[in-house]
Symmetry: C2
Subunit: 111 residues, 2 copies
DNA sequence: TTCAATACTATGCCTGTCGTAGTAAATATA
DNA sequence: TATATTTACTACGACAGGCATAGTATTGAA
């Protein structure tokens, strides 16, 4: 079974999270489920990776957090993307395109 | 200017090096020039990254090294890919395909 | 009532990348 | 002929993201 290595995905976890936050504010657990779904169950982000990404991105000004009680009464921390975060996300998308172009020159497909 | 971040390429430096070694044994300086050329000058691997990759890959059994004097009399360390290295390279190619599929679900192109 | 799901926080290790620095021979340039 | 550049590395240590492990606490299902 081929698995996604963390070295490859490193640096794109933030992008995945921001992609979801581009739609609407969201909280950790829900984001993790959406990433799993959007990747067709192929990628499951680790909890610690996710929450440390929040901390980092809030420090960098890419997201802002606020507490909100859910219907069930549980407390959740929601994250909202900032303008700076949106720019960062767009840059990462451009970077991805370039990276893909570069890496593909070194990949040999066996047919 | 969009640049390739080391976090993205992390874990694919080995693959790029092995791609070149799939053709024929080669040495550090030449490999670095070939990576630069094959990426259309878009990616320049750092010297320390390159040489530490050799050490790691030799330890993992993906490459073997031997000394050889060049025409100019300079001593060079050549690296040769092993069978295990070839398998590793093939696995990384499959992994790349999967990773690409996953990441692309989170990339929004602006047209 | 016990287990699974929800929703996190804390701590510290691991590993690849990279900055900085240094060595040394060969070749090009002035 | 002196100097700069290219070639061809080695050594060392810092950094940062990912992750394993562990723990807390509430809600809802079996």
């Amino acid at each position: 079974m081929v698995e996604i290595s963390s070295d490859v995905i490193r640096g794109y976890n933030d992008t995945m999270i921001l992609f979801i936050l581009m739609e609407e504010p969201c909280y950790g657990y829900e984001i993790s489920k959406r990433i799993r779904a959007l990747s067709n169950e192929k990628y499951i982000i680790k909890e610690t990776t996710l929450y440390s990404a929040f901390t980092r991105m809030e420090k960098n000004g890419y997201v802002e957090s606020y507490s909100q009680n859910a219907e069930n009464g549980k407390k959740r921390t929601y994250y909202k993307i900032t303008e700076s975060g949106k720019n960062y996300y767009r840059d990462k998308c451009l970077e991805w395109t370039l990276t893909k172009e570069v890496v593909e020159n070194f990949i040999r497909r066996e047919d």
